[in-house]
Symmetry: C3
Subunit: 354 residues, 3 copies
């Protein structure tokens, strides 16, 4: 598709500054774009990258309009990211999923029930008594354990594994090689050996949950490990047994929660955060990258560090540690000065006594 | 199953305090239990949660008996967790594994040997010359590479992968999407490029080892990467090439061992610990969450931090760093005081001289 | 194969010190070797382990020759590791890959094109329009999404997943259960919910890239997430959407890159490093284990710590923090001394006044 910038602007709700007759035929990141491409900048920070870009037209925030090169073509938007996504979907429309039904190369237990317009791809496995809703995609090699119950519009990407009894709501996405419902890491230490604690609980993924590639969510021992509606987990995340996450949480890659952690709604963790067992993260709290949480986090708290402390305390601590070499020098001088004072005073006293 | 609390107590070896005629029909976590449920508390810490629970009966440690609400029903046990597990298995008996044999949807090399009462599920792959013992489960999509040798009662969960030549003892469990025996991360840097070092070694998982979901254990370069009997690895753990773990180790999720690390028996690592290459963790040593180990750890040592230091040193260091802002303030005052003293002394000297 | 040490030495370019008539029949690590085995030590550090080894012969660096036990048999080499690898491949020659073609147990879309002498193993899936080069191995359960393009001599190990549209160069290796091309972790927060941002970009793995087991490389939003030629990623690594890695990078296990990180050539990360989004790692820079990178890293920089700082600053900081308890003690003494001085001076003044 090729389109004039002014026509495109009209369709995605932008104002044109520059040559509206310019034509673009696809979207590209700033540094890969040529004259025939549309690109975008979410903020004004990457002005250098914008200036260096060969893009034929760039969507920018309206507030950046003043500083723009008059010789080039711009699309101004109050929400540049949204406008760009709309443009991207014009050039690259989402292909509607085909309905191929149950592949002869898949294994589906005779006692399983598969919804309407649901695909089960070659190599997939659906166990005894599993119930899968309508409009689902069970990707190549994906495994739905016995007795699982999946809602509608659920996507299991290739080789994702749901152990027996896992439940999902609607519109859940599980990415490739993620594992939902493996046994929790629970043992009793008896006579010098670890005895496995049976895990008869399960995992519940509520509506609109998205689980990243190679992420693992362990089943509860008695009850359910639960991921609240709308919560998004990135790749390689670990959610231990018995955790219960609130709604609309977002955890970046490689975050790890030990057992029985609970979170309120809207909790966010940056990458590689670790949270010790049985703690609670308050609603709306945020954890900085690599934070190690050893205590409950209050509602709305912003914590970082190991052990995690409020952000402002952590920064203060960093500043004070940075001052340490100076401080050591200062104490050395003081020690010398005090010794001299003592000597002077003693000398004065002796003089006087004499 | 519904059962009177006093009958249940008799079967799991507890004493009843309260109404033994109360009936329960399943187990639940404290905060999901209703009047028809049995729950449990391992310690006395969660007394608030116990009080808030609607559970019909709760198993608690005998030593907590004194503080209990007389209006409710309690089961007292010297080992509340064990009693609860016994109760759980009464309500939810483990289903015995069926024996379905080798699925027509699996691929089994003609030269492989499969033991008695072993299942190979649809989509599984068993390579050339592999030998699998009796009573094993090779889950859907699981891969047993050429020449692997598996003991008896081994479970490979769905999509777990054993590369060629991997060996396991008896009663080994490998969870979904774990990878055993991939090439170690070893290269020679030659003429500006990384040249792959061939890895002709293997991995040995001894008896009773359990490997978590998406955990990776790399093969040795020459010899075997070895996981000692009874050792348990949680999900997303990395064990580098040539490591040799002792017996009855327990590593929580996201722990990473670089190459050639060795451990004694009974070593424990909390989540996200990292250990540099060629180090030794002494028998019975323990590493706190997120510890970064740069040196050998002595027998029985408790280490935390980055770099890891003995726990007591780490706490002292934390305390001293926390005191830093005060210390800076104190040094500022001292500096002022010393300046005043110097001035006073000089003034005194001058007065005297005058 | 059994061979006299002097014959072996001739074939791998070593000099013999000791009994050249000694025979060896295989290679083993130092502490697993017997009299019939050849072993090696890359440096002189493990002299104790060498002394304790029962190996019949050991390859050591020539520079270590002086200190060697005259009663034993040694092979001296300027590059002991290379010599040992050559010996290992004599005893354990690499088996040439068989060519079995497309298994009837695999699914290959009619519109896909598969090169000459390429194997597609049972349970593998090749989607619509995918193009796979010559001499490739698509392992059991591996998934090649629709429209992927693979070069020649590419190996996908079992259950590795390439999402639709992923491209690879030649000689690329993707280990088991790795996931290439899953959607990036990108959402718009709208009306209290996370809205998924469509990811229409892809992933490009250039020539000679090797991807570890359970590693994930997310697809770009618009353009390609790109892994430069010759770059090696260990297991359980996360590469976020839109990252572009240079050539010949080497990242150890459990490293995580947030979105849009770029690196120059020859960048190295030790285990568990985390890098925040949109940063640049300069050519030849090195990050120590567990470093947390919050800022661009200059060319050739060696950084460690959280937040990452130049190695020498980090060590200085460690040293100063270690001095803190002493410093606190010192300030306490100073405070006391100053108080005494003040008292003495006041007393002197009073005396004088009297």
């Amino acid at each position: 598709m090729e389109i004039r910038v002014e026509d495109l602007a009209a369709r995605i709700g932008c104002d044109v500054q520059g040559d509206g007759a310019q034509r673009v035929s696809d979207v590209r990141p700033l540094d890969e774009a040529g004259p025939e491409h549309l690109s975008f900048a979410a903020g004004t920070r990457p002005m250098k990258r914008i200036a260096a870009s060969a893009a034929g037209a760039v969507i920018v925030p309206r507030k950046a309009a003043a500083g723009l090169d008059a010789a080039r073509t711009w699309l101004l938007s109050d929400d540049a990211q949204a406008a760009f996504i709309a443009a991207m979907l014009l050039f690259r429309p989402a292909t509607s999923r085909g309905v191929s039904g149950i592949s002869s190369g898949a294994y589906v237990s005779p006692s399983a029930r598969i919804g309407r317009e649901t695909n089960v791809f070659p190599g997939a496995y659906v166990g005894e008594g599993a119930i899968i809703g309508d409009h689902c995609d069970i990707g190549p090699g994906a495994v739905v354990g016995a007795g699982c119950r999946l809602g509608a519009f659920v996507t299991l990407h290739p080789n994702a594994v749901l152990y027996a009894g896992v439940q999902t709501g609607d519109r859940v996405i599980v990415h490739a090689n993620a594992v939902i419902g493996a046994d929790g890491f629970g043992y009793r230490f008896v006579d010098g050996r670890y005895e496995k604690i049976p895990h008869t609980g399960t995992v519940v993924l509520e509506d609109d949950v998205e689980i990243g590639a190679c992420t693992t969510v362990d089943r509860g021992m008695v009850g359910a490990t639960r991921i609240g509606a709308g919560t998004k987990l990135d790749n390689l995340v670990m959610i231990g047994h018995n955790c219960r996450l609130g709604r609309h949480n977002a955890f970046a890659s490689q975050v790890g929660l030990a057992g029985s952690v609970t979170t309120g709604d809207y909790v966010r963790c940056a990458g590689q955060v670790g949270i010790a067992d049985h703690l609670h993260m308050g609603r709306g709290s945020t954890l900085g990258a690599k934070a190690g949480v050893m205590d409950d986090i209050p509602e709305g708290g912003h914590y970082i560090g190991l052990p995690a402390v409020p952000e402002k305390d952590a920064f203060r601590q960093l500043v004070t540690v940075a001052k340490l070499p100076d401080l050591i020098q200062q104490v050395k001088s003081l020690t010398k000065q005090v010794a001299e004072l003592e000597a002077a005073l003693e000398c004065a006293a002796r003089t006087k006594a004499a």
